[in-house]
Symmetry: C2
Subunit: 342 residues, 2 copies
């Protein structure tokens, strides 16, 4: 590795402009009290030499890296990429960059990625959801690192959040189906052990059913990873039961799409023979036939708010530890009254 071509340094710029390194640094960092004359000379020298500051050196000296990190379970779900996208744009507006790390819904991987990001020197962190390894909190606290969680609505001073309640909308979805006369409700959910969002939604579904005196039997509850294929196969499995459900509550839109596609393939009419609900309101939801009844998750807004709040926190502001956004029900054609002819 003999890449010994000398990059131009701040000192080179200083020499070229005939000023001190301190002055160059001031110009570069938009410090106050610099004469426009000096500024001009420095900027000319920077351009001439094609100078690019050295990020690590800068971070070391200033004890600030100008980046915040985000830990996402996966980028494969476009609801997350949407949120991330907005977060990144808004952070850029505050002059912060975004470092993204993924952990495939594995909390040990999340913890490891957290350490990597901290080591990288991020100025703040965004985590998704409320479920994390306990030592994550310890680390965060010990280093006094500003952080925020999102996507959940759990009231916990340890885990400040900007998110939404997952339980109530899930309950509303189930109540909507019950009101339509359905009694054989099935649930297709992601594994709930280390995913509070999935758990909350499940809880909402079951609560509503129970309150209506309509307990959901175990064989109507299917746990799979989020994915089109998984939803597709889950529906096939449900339809093989002696008494198939008349309505299916899906943990997210992706699963619901899989279910709907399988139903279409099988010639099952929706909503006449089967009602289906999702969660997220992905762009595709409204274009399905029938259009998917779901919950509109405020992904974009979360990205925006999280950026503002975290930056404020980094700059020393105290903020409420919970901010809830609206996640409204979107009732469309995929849910309809129980067909009593059948």
């Amino acid at each position: 590795m003999n890449k010994e071509l000398q990059h131009t340094l701040l000192a080179d710029v200083a020499r070229e402009a005939g000023v001190s390194t301190a002055s160059v640094s001031r110009v570069l960092n938009r410090a106050p009290h610099v004469s426009s004359q000096l500024r001009a000379r420095v900027e000319a020298a920077v351009d001439k030499l094609g100078y690019v500051p050295h990020g690590s050196a800068r971070a070391l000296a200033s004890r600030r890296i100008g980046a915040i990190g985000v830990l996402v379970p996966t980028l494969d779900n476009s609801i997350f990429s949407t949120g991330i996208n907005r977060l990144e744009q808004r952070l850029k507006h505050h002059d912060y960059r975004l470092l993204i790390a993924t952990y495939r819904y594995d909390l040990d991987d999340e913890l490891e990625a957290l350490h990597t990001l901290i080591q990288q020197g991020v100025d703040g962190l965004v985590l998704i959801g409320h479920d994390h390894r306990p030592s994550a909190l310890t680390t965060l606290k010990r280093r006094q690192l500003p952080f925020l969680t999102c996507w959940h609505g759990i009231d916990d001073a340890d885990w400040p959040t900007i998110g939404f309640d997952n339980i109530a909308p899930a309950r509303a979805l189930a109540e909507h189906l019950l009101l339509l006369g359905h009694r054989r409700l099935a649930v297709i959910s992601a594994p709930i052990e280390s995913n509070d969002r999935a758990r909350s939604r499940m809880q909402g579904f079951l609560q509503a059913a129970e309150q209506a005196g309509c307990q959901i039997p175990a064989e109507y509850i299917i746990t799979v990873n989020y994915g089109i294929a998984e939803g597709f196969e889950a529906l096939e499995a449900l339809m093989r039961l002696d008494k198939p459900p008349t309505a299916i509550l899906c943990g997210n839109d992706t699963l619901a799409f899989g279910v709907m596609l399988a139903a279409q393939r099988a010639g099952i009419r929706m909503p006449e023979d089967l009602s289906v609900t999702g969660f997220d309101d992905l762009p595709q939801a409204r274009f399905m036939t029938p259009a998917l009844t779901t919950v509109a998750v405020p992904a974009t807004n979360i990205g925006y708010q999280v950026a503002d709040a975290l930056v404020a926190r980094i700059e020393g502001e105290a903020l409420p530890h919970r901010q809830l956004l609206d996640a409204p029900l979107v009732i469309r054609g995929s849910t309809g009254p129980l067909n009593t002819d059948a």
Copy 2:
């Protein structure tokens, strides 16, 4: 900002272990010639103090950051997230981290993001496609930064690539439709000015049509951004024409899904009344009814190969400037013979 709690430093560990800082550093960096005795003492001290190395200081001193950067047009298309995901995992295997930046198909944003990543000190870079601002190449070369492009098959020594040919599969798709008797072919594509993949695919479509003596008229060529809604609306527009097309070539699967959903909504039968093709082979493709005829883009394999090749390059190896992977046609039910009854 008075977060003056002293983080434990390498020196603290050294003191705790009763050894020199150099020794601690050696243990941490798995240097050879360290007695297991010393290693044990240091590791104990590290654990006891909860020491976390300071990334910037380490990068500054070692002139290596241990991360490579990737510039992606968007994370919203799951074909990219799939590739990125594999890239990240494979890089971790080589002890490199991945910094992701997105530019929303705007090449000026790409250039800006490139500078940010370079400033950040990445050890190498991955770009997607062949279209970039010329100054990107200049920068890359001047800093002698190892880099790779992917997702395209263009033979250009300036832009080493691990990708696939976009033209031939596109041509094959069109030929497939022509062979089925279709003559009224439409194309729905992303803007081609600054997107070589879209341009190559378009080129393949048009070439095949022309060679079959079946020029595609301008009103059959629609340019929109990639998206479900965009595909949906494009189909509606095409169907309003006096003589609607009997087959539609879509620039990617997402557009094709939009088209198919619009067709289903409009009661257009596929493939009897309309044949549709995509490009990517997303998971959803096989589950549509009918299943989507498309091209299987080797996203996972690209991620894997790019990781290995770029790391090799960083470590000084010379590699061929082009490596082509297979992107096979996947013929499914969404394409069928021209219906001459109509």
